[in-house]
C-alpha cells in the first residue's frame, strides 16, 4: 500500500513523503519557539495560578474551620449561659419560695404574737377594769353598807376612823367568805 502511495505520488513531480529542507527548518523553528513559550512562560504561569488557587482554597477551608470553631464555641458558651441562667432562675425561684414561706411564717408568728399581745393587754385591761370596778364597788358597797347600817343601828357612824375600821372589817370578812366559797368551789 505504501508503495502504491509512493508510486502514485511520484507519478507527479511531488512526493509528499520527502521533506524539503525549508519545511523541516521552519517546522523545527516553530517547535522551538512554541516549546520555549510554553516551557518558560505559559506553563509556569499556570502552575503559579494553580498553587495560588490551592492556597486560596486551603486558606478558605482554614477560615471556614475557624468560623465553625468560633460558632461552636459561641454555641457552647450560649448553652452554658442558658444553663446558668436556668439554674439562676431556679435558685431565685427557690429563694423566693423560701422567702415567701419565711414571710408567711413570720407574718403568722407576728400575727399570733400580736394576737397574744392583744389578748394579754385585753386581759390586763379587763383585770384593771375589774380591779377598778372592784375598788369602786368596794367603796360604794362600803358607803351603802354604812348607810344601811346607819339606818339599821340608828346612829351615825360619823367618826371616820371608826367607820373605816368597821367597813374594812366587814370587807375582810366578806373576802374571807368569798375565798372560802371559791375554795369550796374548787
Amino acid at each position: 500500500m505504501l508503495h502504491a502511495v509512493v508510486s502514485a505520488a511520484t507519478e507527479g513531480e511531488y512526493n509528499p513523503l520527502l521533506p524539503a529542507d525549508y519545511d523541516i527548518i521552519w517546522s523545527a523553528v516553530i517547535f522551538a519557539v512554541l516549546l520555549l513559550f510554553f516551557w518558560r512562560y505559559a506553563l509556569p504561569r499556570l502552575q503559579k495560578l494553580l498553587d495560588e488557587r490551592a492556597e486560596a482554597i486551603e486558606g478558605n477551608i482554614a477560615k471556614a474551620d475557624e468560623a465553625q470553631r468560633k460558632a461552636e464555641a459561641a454555641l457552647e458558651e450560649y448553652t452554658a449561659q442558658l444553663a446558668d441562667a436556668r439554674a439562676e432562675a431556679g435558685r431565685i425561684r427557690e429563694t423566693a419560695r423560701e422567702d415567701g414561706k419565711k414571710i408567711v411564717a413570720d407574718a403568722k408568728e407576728q400575727a399570733s404574737t400580736e394576737a397574744a399581745r392583744i389578748t394579754a393587754s385585753a386581759q390586763a385591761q379587763i383585770e384593771a377594769e375589774r380591779q377598778t370596778a372592784l375598788v369602786s364597788l368596794r367603796s360604794e358597797v362600803g358607803t351603802i353598807a354604812i348607810d344601811l347600817a346607819s339606818g339599821v343601828v340608828g346612829e351615825t357612824l360619823t367618826d371616820d376612823q371608826k367607820a373605816k375600821a368597821v367597813v374594812d372589817r366587814f370587807l375582810a370578812d366578806l373576802e374571807a367568805s368569798e375565798q372560802a366559797a371559791a375554795g369550796g368551789k374548787k
Binding site: 505520488a9 511531488y14 524539503a20 525549508y22 521552519w26 505559559a42 506553563l43 504561569r45
Partner: protein, 287 residues
C-alpha cells in the same frame, strides 16, 4: 482511551489506502473532464514566495503555519498574562485547554512527577498540532499546516528523542531490556521477539506517528477540495439539472468540514497521547 490509542496505532494502513483511492479517483476524474479543477498532490507544494532557493524558503503553507503559531501564541499569551484565582471566561477556556493536556494526558499516564517533567513538550506538541490542523478548515487558509511532512516529522523526531531520553535517563539497562526482551517470553522465540520489538519500537513508532498525522491531513484536504470543487463544477460549469448534485456535494463538503474539525482535535490528541504512552513505557520499571 488506551483502546482508542491502540486502535489508532493500526490506522495508517487504512489511511494510506484511503489516500491511494482518493488519488486514483482524482486522476480518473481529472482525465474525464478538463473543466473540473481536480485536487492534486501539488497543492501541498505551492509556489515559494520568499527566500526562494535558500533553506528558509517560505511558501503559502509556511505562511499558514506562521499564522497558526501567531494565533496560538496570542491566545495563550492573553490567556496566561494576568491569571486570576477566580477565572474569567477566556481564562477558563485557556485553562481548560492546558488542563486537558496536563491532567488527561501527562498526569494520567506519567503520574504527577514525570507528568510535570514532560509537560512542556506534550503541551507544545498538542497545541502546535491542534492549531495547525485547524487551519485546514479555516476559510482563507484552507490547508492544514501539518499536511506537509515537515511538522509531523519534526514532532515525531521530538517524540522519539524524548522517549529514548526518558528511558536512558531512568535506567539504560532496564530500558533496552524492557524494550527488546519482554519478560515471560520463551527463550527460543526471544531473538525473533527482540527483532520485532526493535523494529516496532525504534523504527515504526516515529514512522507511524508521522504518517498517521500527515495522511489524515492530506486526505482531509483532498476530500474537502474534491467536494467543493465538484460543487463549483456542477453549479457553474454544467448548471441546469446538475445543480441537484451540487447541493449533494456541498452537503458532503459541509459534513466533512465538521468531520475535519473532529479529526484535527483527535489527531492532536492521539499524537500527544502516544508520545506520553511511549515515555511511560520507557520509564516503567517492568512491563
Amino acid at each position: 482511551m488506551f483502546v482508542v490509542a491502540r486502535a489508532l496505532l493500526h490506522a495508517p494502513k487504512q489511511e494510506i489506502a484511503l489516500l491511494a483511492n482518493a488519488v486514483n479517483l482524482l486522476v480518473l476524474t481529472a482525465t474525464e473532464d478538463g473543466g473540473f479543477h481536480a485536487p492534486s498532490i501539488s497543492e501541498f507544494f505551492p509556489e515559494v514566495v520568499l527566500f526562494e532557493g535558500t533553506p528558509f524558503a517560505i511558501n503559502r503553507i509556511m505562511l499558514v503555519r506562521f499564522i497558526a503559531v501567531a494565533a496560538l501564541l496570542l491566545v495563550f499569551w492573553l490567556g496566561t498574562r494576568r491569571m486570576r484565582v477566580i477565572p474569567g471566561r477566556f481564562q477558563s477556556i485557556v485553562e481548560m485547554g492546558l488542563d486537558f493536556v496536563r491532567v488527561n494526558i501527562a498526569e494520567d499516564l506519567l503520574g504527577k512527577k514525570d507528568g510535570k517533567r514532560f509537560l512542556p513538550i506534550l503541551t507544545t506538541m498538542f497545541f502546535m498540532i491542534l492549531f495547525m490542523n485547524l487551519t485546514g478548515v479555516i476559510p482563507g487558509l484552507n490547508i492544514a499546516g501539518t499536511s506537509v511532512i515537515g511538522v509531523p516529522l519534526v514532532l515525531a523526531i521530538v517524540s522519539y528523542v524524548t522517549f529514548i531520553y526518558a528511558g536512558i535517563k531512568k535506567s539504560p539497562k532496564n530500558f533496552f531490556k524492557n524494550s527488546l526482551f519482554p519478560s515471560g517470553v520463551p527463550i527460543f522465540v526471544l531473538p525473533i521477539v527482540a527483532l520485532i520489538e526493535l523494529i516496532s519500537t525504534f523504527i515504526l513508532r516515529p514512522v507511524t506517528l508521522t504518517l498517521r498525522l500527515l495522511m489524515n491531513m492530506i486526505v482531509g484536504h483532498l476530500l474537502l477540495v474534491l467536494f467543493f470543487s465538484a460543487t463549483h463544477f456542477f453549479l457553474f460549469t454544467l448548471g441546469g439539472a446538475w445543480t441537484v448534485l451540487a447541493a449533494g456535494s456541498l452537503a458532503f463538503g459541509f459534513a466533512f468540514t465538521l468531520f475535519e474539525i473532529l479529526v484535527a482535535i483527535l489527531q492532536a490528541y492521539v499524537f500527544t497521547l502516544l508520545t506520553a504512552v511511549y515515555i511511560q513505557l520507557a520509564v516503567a520499571e517492568e512491563h
